[in-house]
């Protein structure tokens, strides 16, 4: 069974930062399956850059836990995919190595930050891919590129080897052309890892089941309100209608704490990022610093040139928010807001089994459309609540608007990843 596959795709969309022309594989559940890996997941002997100049040339001496699991099931790691630098973005335009283009329309972005993984799957270059989702980074590009993508419950997949952007929010997760592929890949990567003490012993052994009769679906008003494109909202409402036809019932609900979700999200991720990224100082990674300068001057020079604009912006924001006297004002408040969001979800999940809505408020942006950071941050409003609460959320294609894919997002109770997969699968089976 073990062997080698030849991987030599015509990468028109700049989906890959590195490819392995001869990719070895073993036997197992994924024997010979080509899997692309987001470039923030450490792969032994394969350059891992997070799409940043500062990690150019960094070749990890170890595999991320999930890579070990993929290899153990026979998968062929065929390449590392493009992304927003360190995961910071919603378009994959913030890559130091050029943007990835959306295979559905090359004038548009694939979404981000796992844009390369989504584009590689959407273009048929690979069957499945790994991404990471900090505030929507799997679901957004899945939605924009018309594929499926799951952000697992926090703790179900080991983060060991995932180059941290925001530890308390992010999870590695699967992207695939179909929900079945997503489910299969999730089955391989989930489970406890003693190297990640925030991971839990909750393996995923599940075959998607399309029977959703009796399922109660919460429809939060905030997911169809201000800022959400009406055409997108209509497509999603129609899709939810199909779920009702399959025997589910809908219940209107509200997540009032969503008002603070974006603020809580951006405070948390910038604070954690400012600390996570401090180690990239030019001494061990990135362009060698000028040794004639004092070490802190050299650090300053390396860090002000080798990081991109968005990364520097978020490092500065996070550094400020954690400064003496501000911790209570920002980080601590953001954590309190997260508790409120969790409480809102817990309350809603007493009455419903899943929550459904659009994944993104719009279809994929045109390249360079989101030039000011604030409007880009606003695009995350529908995806960040799941990260703040730690709950599972999947995006499944549910139709088109202006010829571009629209994603249906299903969020579930903590650790009920199987259920959100089932709902997405039921929809997928119904429309195909």
């Amino acid at each position: 069974m073990a062997g080698e596959i030849t991987f030599n795709p015509d990468d028109k969309y700049n989906a890959f930062l590195a490819t392995c022309r001869k990719a070895p594989h073993g036997s197992g559940k994924l024997a010979g399956v080509a899997v692309a890996v987001k470039d923030n997941i450490s792969t032994m002997d394969i350059e891992t850059t997070c799409a940043s100049k500062i990690l150019k040339g960094y070749i990890p001496p170890y595999d991320a836990h999930v890579i070990g699991l993929l290899k153990a099931e026979g998968a062929a790691i065929v390449g590392k995919t493009n992304m927003d630098e360190f995961g910071m973005g919603t378009t994959t335009e913030n890559s130091a190595f050029g943007p990835t283009l959306n295979p559905c329309d090359t004038g548009r972005v694939p979404g981000g930050s796992s844009g390369g993984s989504a584009a590689a799957v959407a273009a048929g270059m690979v069957q499945m891919a790994l991404g990471s989702d900090t505030g929507g980074s799997i679901r957004c590009p899945a939605s924009f590129c018309g594929i499926a993508g799951l952000k697992p419950s926090y703790g179900r997949v080991s983060r060991y080897g995932l180059i941290a952007y925001s530890n308390s929010l992010e999870q590695i997760g699967p992207l695939g052309k179909t929900v079945t592929d997503v489910s299969t890949l999730m089955g391989v990567i989930a489970g406890h890892d003693r190297h990640d003490t925030t991971s839990l012993d909750k393996p995923y052994n599940h075959i998607p089941n399309a029977d959703i009769r009796g399922l109660k679906i919460g429809i939060p008003q905030e997911y169809f309100g201000k800022g959400v494109d009406t055409n997108v909202a209509d497509v999603v409402k129609k899709a939810i209608g199909r779920l009702e036809e399959l025997g589910a019932t809908t219940v209107p609900c509200s997540i009032p704490s969503m008002e603070y979700a974006l603020a809580a999200y951006y405070v948390t991720c910038t604070c954690e990022a400012s600390s996570n990224l401090a180690r990239f100082d030019g001494v061990r990674y990135g362009p060698a610093p000028d040794t004639k300068k004092s070490w802190h001057d050299a650090y300053q020079e390396v860090r002000s040139t080798a990081f991109g604009t968005e990364v520097r912006r978020r490092i500065m924001l996070g550094t400020f928010a954690l400064s003496s006297g501000y911790y209570g004002k920002y980080y601590a408040k953001a954590q309190a807001a997260r508790e409120n969001i969790k409480a809102d979800f817990n309350r809603i999940f007493k009455d419903v089994d899943v929550i459904a809505g659009p994944t993104m408020p719009t279809i994929a942006f045109r390249l360079k459309e989101k030039s000011d950071p604030l409007s880009m941050y606003l695009a995350d409003i529908l995806t960040v609540p799941a990260n703040l609460a730690g709950i599972p959320a999947i995006s499944v294609p549910c139709g088109k608007s202006d010829g571009m894919p629209v994603g249906l997002q299903i969020m579930g109770r903590m650790f009920e990843d199987e259920r959100v997969v089932d709902v997405a699968y039921a929809y997928e089976q119904e429309v195909n």
Binding site: N167, R194, D196, S274, S275, D281
Partner: protein, 484 residues
């Protein structure tokens, strides 16, 4: 106690390496000192991108042992935080430590106060953290060509023990540190002999003035020296009417002085926040499983009762685990018979001789000292000969030469007491008196010093073998006869 006007106020922050087999957050061995740079490292302690900490439970157990022994309260929930700062030896550019939820709070250490009696030095807290790596400067820090980074030390578990400002002199600070060391050694969680295993920051002020932080003290003696220097410096400033600035100073071990460090403007803002890669610690229930061994205070009391040691001897002997064990081995064969002599000889004489040679107790086998004490107890040799035997014995072991027993040394050097062999002593007395007629005259004219002088002369001639009491008696007799 009422503080005097110029009362010294000292508080210490003591960092001790816990003597676990592996590092705090990875499986790397802590036994790095004799190996080359960057040989005890892995993705975790190198802070490679994507690596995550996994807590070593043994280190927490060790820290809890210390907390229990020092009467601290283990918090229901504690947590790790990141202390963010840039420095080339800090692999992740943050140190995982504990900030607002330490492992333990409160507690105290009892020391002998300068005024005598025991005094409680209160503790503020104990927390667990990781050691950073180390820089090796080629040349000196300012003008060296370059520096090299060694991450072998990165991730070694440390506890930081923070005291209240309860010490009143540099000497008390030294005693506090010694007591802490002894306690940690008794708990078998700390090896004080490993280079750099303890580091101290001290806060010191003169009552009513700003306090100064002295950083970078790396030896036990250094604490007393650095603080003594500071007391003098600060008192001099006050005497000259100058104001003490609140500042951080560095102790320069080689010169025994403190030097102003970075100014306040440049001080780091550590931007603490909870470490998101580790769960909060809820370990209070582990306390039930922690059984403490006999600690220094209990052992001291036992030495007084069981061996009849004086308080001071018992304090000295139990002040170091190794010494206490050594003592008990020396007297093992005859517990009550040997102990009074042995405690004096070990606590006073042996320690002094070892310090003089800067020699480790490890080089001396307890049986050698048992042999010596037996000879002394039997009256075979005089105290003076005893010291001579001890010196020979130590010199041999220090130089790793043939290690003779006390018996053998006594025989070889013919040091056995000449009691009974009064002929030799009588002769020596005769000679001494004849050679020193002035002393005889002085004796006759009632000068007290003359007798002592003659005793010394006779001792010299008999090479200390004469029993002092016997000699005194015989010499007085002889002088009386001369008078007649």
């Amino acid at each position: 106690m009422v503080d005097a006007e110029d009362q010294v106020i000292v508080g210490l922050e003591v960092h001790c390496q816990l003597d676990t087999k592996s590092k705090l957050f990875c499986g790397c061995s802590t036994d790095y000192r004799s190996d080359g740079p960057n040989t005890h490292v892995c993705p975790i302690c190198l802070g490679l991108p994507g690596a995550m900490p996994a807590l070593n439970k043994r280190a927490i157990e060790y820290a809890m042992k210390v907390a229990k022994a020092l009467n601290c309260e283990i918090l229901e929930e504690s947590e790790f935080s990141r202390k963010n700062y840039f420095y080339p030896d800090l692999d992740k550019a943050y140190q995982i430590t504990q900030y607002d939820k330490p492992l333990a709070e409160g507690g105290y250490v009892e020391i002998e106060s300068d005024e005598g009696g025991e005094r409680k030095i209160r503790l503020t807290r104990i927390h667990v953290e990781e050691d950073p790596g180390r820089l090796v400067h080629m040349g000196n820090v300012e003008r060296g060509k370059y520096s090299l980074v060694d991450y072998n030390r990165a991730g070694i578990p440390l506890i930081e023990i923070v005291s209240e400002p309860d010490m009143r002199s540099p000497k008390e600070a030294r005693k506090f540190l010694n007591k802490l060391r002894a306690t940690l050694e008794y708990l078998n969680v700390f090896d004080s002999e490993k280079e750099g295993s303890i580091r101290v920051d001290a806060n010191i002020s003169i009552k009513g003035n700003e306090r100064v932080e002295v950083k970078n003290i790396t030896s036990y003696k250094g604490v007393e020296k650095a603080l003594t220097f500071e007391v003098t410096r600060q008192k001099n400033l006050i005497r000259r009417g100058q104001k003490i600035e609140r500042e951080t100073r560095h102790y320069l071990e080689a010169r025994g002085v403190t030097q102003a460090g970075r100014s306040k403007e440049q001080e780091n803002d550590y931007r603490y926040f909870p470490e998101p890669d580790l769960r909060p610690l809820r370990v209070k229930s582990w306390l039930d499983g922690i059984v403490l061994p006999e600690l220094p205070d209990a052992r001291r009391e036992r030495f007084i009762v069981q061996y009849g040691c004086s308080l001071n001897h018992a304090r000295t002997l139990t002040g170091e685990l190794k010494l206490a064990n050594f003592f008990e081995k020396v007297v093992a064969s005859d517990k009550s018979g040997l102990s009074p002599l042995a405690s004096t000889w070990i606590a006073d004489t042996l320690i002094g001789e070892l310090n003089y040679r800067d020699m480790s107790l490890d080089k001396v086998e307890p049986a050698a000292i048992t042999g010596l004490v037996l000879l002394l107890k039997a009256g075979t040799i005089t105290d003076k000969s005893g010291i001579e035997v001890l010196r020979v014995l130590l010199d041999q072991r220090f130089k790793n030469e043939s290690a003779e027993t006390a018996d053998a040394i006594v025989k070889r050097l013919n040091l056995a007491k000449t009691a009974g062999d009064s002929g030799a002593i009588t002769m020596a007395i005769e000679e001494a008196i004849n050679e020193n007629p002035k002393a005889l005259d002085d004796y006759r004219s009632g000068k007290a010093g003359a007798l002592n002088f003659l005793v010394g002369q006779v001792m010299k001639k008999t090479r200390g073998k004469a029993d002092p009491a016997e000699l005194n008696r015989m010499l007085t007799e002889a002088l009386k006869n001369k008078e007649a």
